[in-house]
Amino acid sequence: MPIVHNGAVTSCVFFAVSGNSYSAGTFISSTVGVPALTHSFCKQNNPAVQTMDPSEVEFLAEKEMVKIIPNFSLDKIYLIGGDLGPFNPGLPVDVPVWLALNLKQRQKCRIVPPEWMDVEKLEEIRELERKEDAFTPVPSPYYMELTKLLLNHASDNIPKADEIRTLVKDIWDTRIAKLRLSADSFISQQEAHAKLDNLTLMEINTTRTFLLDSLNCMYKLRSNLQPGSNKGKALDY
């Protein structure tokens, strides 16, 4: 089973920041256990409530790889999620975002921003997004989460951080407005299916419950049009 990892856990295994016995086992509860259990125990009656918390989406984004330049040396380390390192001062190395942020917070590295996190590139994307009716491909499936994580923790490593923040927010707003527009035409034209190409998890997540509930209502109101589809009558008192 592939085990996803998280800053808190592995930093404990790896750097022994504490004597806490926060085992991989306990950790799984936050990823596999909780959605599985709350869904089957608490949410089974209400399919529409099956939504993720944004913090869970962010958690998934923390698995994305990012380049860092460490200022320490350490041999390769072997974790359940894969091997990392070796780390040599001044030599760039790819690590997951959770680790990059952890190292950065303790001033152990400099983060190299992803290529797309660049004012010119983002301006291009923004213009394209505004021009096109459909959703354009985004530079990263976690562009929003990564922007927030990296700018909040490593803005000193990212040139023109404020401009980037505004640009990404603009792109997000444009896309969300599009999403709403297409949801409305989806409903008004009584469509049965839709393609969600190029939408990211965070975008889908903010509207999932609402859209599913709405579609469910519309489906029920449409079934009203077919007389004879009412079986449950005798049971209702």
Binding site: T38, C42, K43, N45, N46, A48, V49, T51, D53, P54, S55, E58, K148, N152, R180, A183, D184, I187, S188, Q190, M202, N205, T206, T207, R208, T209, F210, D213, S214, N216, C217, M218, K220, L221, R222, S223, N224, L225, P227, S229, N230, K231, G232, K233, L235, D236, Y237
Partner: protein
Amino acid sequence: MDSQAYLPVPPGVGMEENFFSLDDILLSHERLSCRTECAFPRLGFLEKSGDTRDIAEGTKMELPLWLAKGLYERKRRVVSVEVPKVYREGWRTVFSADPTVVDLQKMGPYYYGLGSQMLHFDSPENPDVAQSLLQTFIGRFRRTMDSSQNAYNEDTSVLVERLDCLERALFRSGQSGLNGFQSWEKGRASHLTASTLVLNYRKRKMADTQP
């Protein structure tokens, strides 16, 4: 976003009710104007005037939906049910002209739910009623969506004022998605908070102890 462990049984929406749903039980308690098509011996006391032993044939009575449904039969008429005004032609024309101006809270509050339930009773108007319900929902959808997506940290009572129960539920799910995202954006998503249930209990306890 609060993780609420209590999730009530959702309403059935449409023609089928959900047996355990509190919403559906209250919906099916809505009163309908009915006319008895036969006598009901020994139940005279149920009627308003209540001074006769039996309910006579042809008596006009307000019956809850669940009872009208329970008594209703296609073959043998025991009661006939009058379609409420909102679902009749006059109002249907108003709805089709501009569904967004209608105050469904006042007309309903179970506009869609009760309308769908009315389809259990045979009537030549049923296809039109069903069509009108669907078109009204579609016509109002944009409004429901926009208000639910634009109302962060505002007083939402004005926005939901004219929505029917079903639309209110949609409004709430739209809000929870929006609030979840915005609190993440502000960096509050990983903030551990007290259970709202626990806090509400405490409020109640305080209220109880005050004289």
